[in-house]
């Protein structure tokens, strides 16, 4: 299988996870969106030399992955893909920040190394939060939640259309790329000259498709306004409990360094 097919299937799989029926899947999407945002803000609000206090935040992705019945290996693979970028920037820290922050034996640990690891943990936590949000909610439901949270309707419609046609067009893109790859015999990229006509053709087909969709919309009485069907999502006690519970936990973990306290019990040094 070609690499492009892989990334395409990967996208589809994440979308399929959202169709599962678990207690977390059933929650009102607003609760999940807001909790995720709170989680990310708490995580990134730690100062750059913080490591231990961030670790307890792993409980959130761990619990949601378990309750949401998400495949651990798959989510991990998705996270691993995004780490190198954050790490690339993070690895500059040890170069610029050589202040000795701690010593293990005779080994000096520079602040830069600590902040680099901190960046790595941030990347893992924030990336897993985003991917898990989609996996337990689904993109259309997230859009709906954002629309209820006052996102303009035009943008909501845009997101839904984009999402709908990603599958159709990436499929077309994959076919084009595959047809080309099968005839280039191992050369990686396409000469930049042919790129214009290849992508240009794809763009023309896309444009014509948009015209046909517009026709199909007009044929069914479209007059500039998309009327959404109200889906019965209900922000009830379960949602309040979910949000309240997690957010208070995040705040507690943000304020108190739990591992530090826990470790203190063993070493006898209290901060």
């Amino acid at each position: 299988m070609l690499a492009i097919d892989g990334s395409f299937l990967d996208f589809k799989q994440l979308d399929l996870l959202a169709l599962r029926q678990t207690p977390v899947h059933r929650l009102d999407p607003r609760a999940k969106v807001l909790t995720t945002l709170c989680f990310i803000i708490c995580v990134v609000s730690f100062d750059r030399y913080q490591i231990s206090a961030m670790l307890p935040f792993l409980i959130y992705p761990a619990v949601l992955m378990a309750v949401g019945d998400l495949p651990f290996g798959y989510i991990m693979r998705k996270i691993v893909i995004v780490i190198p970028f954050a790490l690339m920037i993070g690895l500059f820290n040890p170069i610029f920040d050589r202040q000795v922050l701690m010593q293990i034996g005779s080994l000096d640990i520079w602040g830069g190394w600590i902040s680099c690891i901190s960046i790595l943990i941030r990347a893992i936590l924030t990336a897993s939060a985003a991917i898990i949000l989609v996996a337990i909610t689904g993109f259309p439901a997230i859009c709906e939640a954002l629309e209820k949270l006052k996102m303009p309707q035009t943008f909501a419609v845009q997101l839904l259309f984009l999402y709908r046609y990603i599958f159709v067009l990436t499929d077309e893109g994959v076919r084009t790329a595959r047809a080309r790859q099968l005839r280039t015999f191992g050369k990686r990229g396409l000469g930049i000259r042919h790129f214009g006509s290849l992508v240009g053709h794809l763009l023309l087909r896309t444009w014509e498709r948009a015209e046909r969709i517009h026709m199909a919309m007009l044929a069914r009485g479209f007059a500039g306004e998309i009327h959404s069907t109200r889906r019965q999502s209900h922000f009830g006690r379960t949602e309040l409990l979910f949000m309240g519970g997690w957010i208070s936990l995040f705040i507690l973990l943000r304020l108190y360094n739990a591992p530090q306290l826990l470790g203190g019990l063993f070493t006898g040094t209290m901060p």
């Binding site: 979308d15 399929l16 999402y163 709908r164 159709v168 026709m215 199909a216 044929a219 069914r220 009485g221």
Partner: protein, 273 residues
């Protein structure tokens, strides 16, 4: 309601680049008729269909649907009356779920949520797709997509169904299912296709277009028996009327000869016995 339900008079269409797509096309379709429109690629079938619900406007000539002449004022009513099912269901199913898609038309007509719900469920029932209601369209099979696309139009309670290449890209079973479904409708039906076997089963009357002109308009069987006509219009008798080249005795020697081309590129046989 007049029983002359679709009346096209001297329709002429010239595209901005000066290509003449339709020349003096006239026909009359009565209530409840099922009419096939056939013709080679570029014969003007799609251009004709796009006129029927006012997406393209005629260079000259007129179109009367029911009692209304097609014009800016009557456009909304005509679009409700004429249900267009496009060739590629991907273009027709643009909403996040099947339900939303089938509800799109009724909601645009200004129906309440409850009325819409009834319409949607009726339409889905009609095409046997109730269990698909919450699915996103890209997780449907080809046949399912086609049936849902038809439901999106049925929910507007059209009197006329216009179908562009309905069997295109369907596997044999999905095709059979779809033909059975279309046969069960009592709407006036206008179907374009290259699948002449389907036209043979579905339409008692056929209009042949060639280079923008109507070459013939009459009972389907008569037209398909006129080999001269089919040949000039770059068409071919439906397989069902050709006799089977594999099993008919006089053709047998052909098969015993070594094939000239690799076996996978030989013509598929569509057995319709």
């Amino acid at each position: 309601m007049s029983h002359h339900i679709v009346h096209v008079k001297n329709l002429q269409h010239t595209y901005p680049d000066k290509t003449v797509a339709l020349r003096d096309v006239s026909f009359l379709i009565h209530h409840g008729e099922s009419v096939g429109i056939i013709g080679a690629n570029g014969a003007g079938k799609s251009t004709l269909l796009l006129h029927l619900n006012g997406y393209l406007s005629a260079t000259s000539g007129e179109i009367i649907i029911g009692d209304d002449q097609l014009s800016k004022e009557t456009l909304p009513e005509i679009r409700r009356t004429v249900g267009m099912v496009f060739q590629d269901p991907e273009d027709q199913l643009f909403m996040p779920t099947v339900y939303d898609d089938v509800a799109f038309g009724p909601l645009n007509l200004g129906l309440s949520a409850d009325e819409t719900e009834t319409r949607v469920m009726e339409a889905l029932q009609r095409v046997g797709a109730v269990e698909l209601r919450d699915k996103p369209p890209y997780h449907l099979s080809g046949g399912e997509k086609k049936r849902v696309a038809i439901a999106t139009v049925l929910s507007m309670l059209p009197e006329i169904l216009v179908l562009d290449e309905p069997t295109n890209g369907l596997d044999p079973q999905a095709r059979r299912q779809l033909i059975a479904l279309l046969q069960a409708f009592h709407h006036t039906r206008i179907v374009t296709s290259h699948d002449l076997d389907m036209i043979l089963e579905l339409c008692e009357r056929t209009i042949v277009l060639h280079e923008g002109k109507i070459m013939a308009d009459g009972p389907t069987l008569d037209i398909f028996n006129n080999e001269e006509l089919l040949k000039t219009c770059r068409l071919e008798k439906p397989f069902a009327m050709q006799g089977c080249p594999v099993c008919s005795p006089d053709k047998r020697p052909l098969v015993s000869q070594p094939p000239l081309v690799p076996p996978h590129s030989s013509k598929p046989h569509d057995h319709e016995h």
